[in-house]
Symmetry: C2
Subunit: 245 residues, 2 copies
Amino acid sequence: MKIDPSNPADLSAQIAAAIRDAIIGGDLIVDERLPSEAELADQFNVSRPTVREALKRLAAQSLIRTQRGASGGAFVNRLSFEDAYAQQITTSTLLLSMNAVSFDTACEARFALERACAPLSSQRRSADHLATMRAEIHRQQQPGLTDEAFCASDVAFHRALVDGAGNPVLSYQLAGAVEAMQPLMNMITFSARSREEIVAMHTELADAIETQDGASADTVLARLEDYTRTLARDVMTARAAKANG
Amino acid sequence: MKIDPSNPADLSAQIAAAIRDAIIGGDLIVDERLPSEAELADQFNVSRPTVREALKRLAAQSLIRTQRGASGGAFVNRLSFEDAYAQQITTSTLLLSMNAVSFDTACEARFALERACAPLSSQRRSADHLATMRAEIHRQQQPGLTDEAFCASDVAFHRALVDGAGNPVLSYQLAGAVEAMQPLMNMITFSARSREEIVAMHTELADAIETQDGASADTVLARLEDYTRTLARDVMTARAAKANG
DNA sequence: GACTTTTAAATGTCAGACAAATGAAATCTG
DNA sequence: CAGATTTCATTTGTCTGACATTTAAAAGTC
């Protein structure tokens, strides 16, 4: 592992990149201890604060964890699915909020991916997944529910559907797509009528998953996508009309 | 923005979290300049190195960028699709390499997602996307190609297919799924016969996309998935037999 | 031998300093 | 006065050295 002192880029960034490459390349294995900060400083010919900045960069990506005390230090972290979910959600959320992605584009992507999970989920879902879906449907029928709580329940419902596919890689990939939509969905005001429609489709969806009818699930998801986009369009036009009036 | 000095967690982690929340929550907008390191140190009642560690954490996630000199400082970064791709690929690759995800699981997820893109791509792909696909098929027929180069071309081919859907959010989500598979694919030795088969299916796929036949594209992808899994299984059993013999 | 105390090693934090980059203001020049 | 040049203040990047805190292992004690 070497760095180039004449490189204009930050030394801490170079050091972080060198260690990251070593981890990705398999030169450092999970739970292996890195040299102490002082030793790394020696090896790279930099000061300890510079090494520390590099280590913090890696810690921010969950690539390492640190432990204080004797026999402490920085250890290569086994990236858990939870950590990966969290990063995926943060990145996706920022991507949507900062890049003026249209609601339609985000919506299309989200439902396209979810429809990819539906057939698998209809075959493999456990009783647990079905129970979660039914419970969320029940929650969505509570009259006093705020729009935010309704959206959160919506996310939990769809997440159960995705998890039902029993493929953690799929769940991870979908986490971002589904959760990142929530801030956009929160901008929609759900009337009693539209909640009713959505709950009806959720029920159809749960029924299709329960009877292992992947084709029906796919059809319902397509309708749900259409309906969601229509709702969003109506909200936008209503808002535009209000602004002009 | 406040932090809790009695919290056992690192101060730099707390500060990073506070600023991250401010960015995600919209309190800090894109291209807005953060206070200087000295000012932040004052505000949070910590030293400058601690502030710097926090900023490096955020920089590692592409949430901020820094600039030296007068009127320099830390600025809220507009997360580009490229940055998001890169993070997604790093995370996905590590997830697959560190968590003993089976080839079948990764493969299933990858093709499920890709099949979600196929119908959209068959409708919207540009001449450019088709040209890239054809060019990569041509490259894959070169006799002297190493397995690694063959895999790289494979990734480029499928990436063109995904990009053909014209949905950057989909492309972003798929980037991880497709690219993270490459190290696993590289472990497969492609015989002349299997290359021939794969190229044949790629050709069918390109034809289907060109004629806007989404259903055919889906079918071919399903066959390609089966074939890939069979190949992988054969490689594994051959390797196991060799180890035992 | 079991418990307590000490100690050493490591990370976390701080203070102060200097280097380097950079844009803007001040100055010089034609 | 216009344009080029120089100076300067600001800000990040890096270094040194120090102390605080945590933690596991070694040493000591009964």
